[in-house]
């Protein structure tokens, strides 16, 4: 009996060692299983939130698909008259294109046009956001001879028939007779201008 009683100190030590070992296992379990698992869970929850947000945006955008298509159609419709009115070069010459458009109108009023000359392009103020394709004002100087009435009729006719062509400058000088005056009329057209960003990386014109 006394031996058993004496042994109680040893069993306490064994119990303490056992408890210590088991606690060590628990610590190892926490450090190498629970903690990494928690970290992974946190990361994956974040990823899930991000994916859910992406999915919400995607669903919203897809829901807007028909509205976007309508907007695209509306913008293209509104843009079409401008596109049709753009001055484009004829055989590489802007003045030639202007001549092909203005000569019939000058002939209608009896104005004698003697020269068409290209003037430096004028940039238009940039809208926000800036589009890739910019547009500019392309002036063409028309030199003509005729009476004041013919010149005024010609300008009236151009402004009526070509609603996107604008008179930029005018200079009428009286010649020897009032029937024949020298007119320098600068008309400007909308035309394609520079590209705000190159079409291909490192390429395109500015």
């Amino acid at each position: 009996m006394s031996a058993t009683l004496d042994n109680s100190g040893g069993s306490t030590k064994r119990a303490a060692f056992f408890a210590l070992a088991v606690a060590g296992v628990a610590v190892v379990l926490y450090l190498f299983a629970v903690q990494p698992c928690q970290d992974t869970l946190v990361k994956e929850r974040r990823e899930k939130e991000s994916l859910e947000s992406q999915l919400r945006v995607t669903m919203r955008d897809l829901k807007d698909s028909s509205r976007v298509k309508n907007m695209l159609a509306e913008v293209e419709t509104a843009r079409k008259p401008f596109m049709d009115a753009l001055l484009t070069p004829l055989l590489g010459s802007w003045a030639m294109r202007a001549k092909s458009m203005l000569d019939p109108l000058a002939a209608d009023v009896g104005l004698k046009v003697t020269d068409y000359a290209e003037l430096p392009v004028r940039a238009l103020p940039l809208p926000k956001p800036t589009p890739r394709q910019l547009y500019a004002r392309r002036p063409i100087r028309v030199t003509a001879h005729g009476s004041y009435a013919e010149i005024a009729s010609f300008i009236l006719r151009v402004e009526k028939m070509l609603p996107y062509v604008s008179l930029q400058a005018l200079n009428i000088k009286v010649q020897r007779t009032p029937e024949v005056q020298l007119a320098e009329i600068v008309f400007e057209w909308p035309a394609k201008g520079a590209l705000s960003t190159p079409a291909v990386p490192g390429g395109g014109k500015r």
């Binding site: 009683l5 109680s8 306490t12 119990a15 056992f18 408890a19 088991v22 606690a23 296992v25 299983a33 629970v34 698992c37 992974t40 869970l41 994956e44 929850r45 899930k48 994916l51 999915l55 995607t58 955008d61 897809l62 698909s65 976007v68 907007m71 695209l72 913008v75 509104a78 843009r79 003037l119 004028r122 940039a123 103020p125 809208p127 800036t130 589009p131 890739r132 394709q133 910019l134 547009y135 004041y148 005024a152 300008i155 009236l156 006719r157 402004e159 009526k160 996107y164 604008s166 008179l167 930029q168 400058a169 005018l170 200079n171 009428i172 000088k173 009286v174 909308p190 520079a194 500015r206």
Partner: protein, 229 residues
């Protein structure tokens, strides 16, 4: 029968004073085991959550992958709408800055007094655009002007025998008929004054009758061109 009672005192001296009725050598292993089992259960719960989450992530990824091409197409359309709208804004701004001067010239012919002869009519060209910064000439030029307005002037030069018809003509130009084109601001100073009389003097060259003609040169400010949406 005389029996003696056997009292076993298994408690140690330290344990006698302890508030806990359960001994430490029993408690410690149990607590350690509980801790270990708790950790294992915790890990199992987390692991199950992780498995569940991975399943959900897989579903989400496959959902997104399935919609990827349709979404890319709609994003491209949205970008195209934005770009075309910006192009349209610039073209509309150009159109807003367009003024028709044909009717002005037609009205001018109708209101012209018979005893006034115009020798020159001009709408001068606007000054050249400054798209490069003179302080930093090496920088690439701007793609467009920062100013959205452009001033326009209308200059008339002519001759007359008397001053009165010219004054009457200028009064007509200041009237309702021309208000759509010409700005009348006599009080303004310098270049902003409209009409601005550059000269109104007798011509040096004498006419055949011996009388001298009056030459005038007047400049009007027109409504400025506003290239704004």
């Amino acid at each position: 029968m005389n029996t003696s009672n056997l009292h076993l005192n298994l408690l140690r001296e330290a344990e006698k004073m302890s508030s806990s009725p359960v001994r430490l050598r029993v408690m410690l292993p149990i607590l350690a085991l509980l801790l270990c089992v708790g950790c294992a259960i915790w890990w199992a719960v987390l692991f199950m959550q992780m498995l569940l989450l991975r399943g959900q992530l897989g579903t989400l990824r496959s959902d997104l992958d399935g919609k990827k091409s349709a979404h890319a197409a709609i994003l491209a359309e949205m970008a195209k709408v934005r770009d075309l709208q910006a192009e349209l804004d610039q073209l509309v701004a150009y159109h807003k800055g367009r003024h028709a001067y044909g009717p002005l010239l037609a009205q001018l012919a109708e209101t012209m007094p018979t005893n006034v002869q115009l020798t020159a009519i001009s709408i001068p060209e606007p000054p050249p655009q400054m798209l490069t910064n003179p302080k930093f000439p090496k920088l690439p030029p701007l793609l467009g002007p920062t100013n959205t307005t452009e001033s326009v002037t209308f200059r008339l030069a002519g001759r007359t025998a008397k001053a009165a018809p010219v004054t009457a003509f200028m009064e007509t130009l200041a009237g309702e008929t021309f208000k759509d084109w010409l700005v009348i601001d006599k009080a303004a100073a310098g270049a902003l004054q409209s009409p601005r009389i550059h000269s109104f003097r007798q011509e040096a060259r004498a006419q055949e009758e011996g009388s001298r003609l009056l030459a005038f040169d007047v400049e009007y400010r027109c409504r400025e061109r506003r290239f704004e949406k």
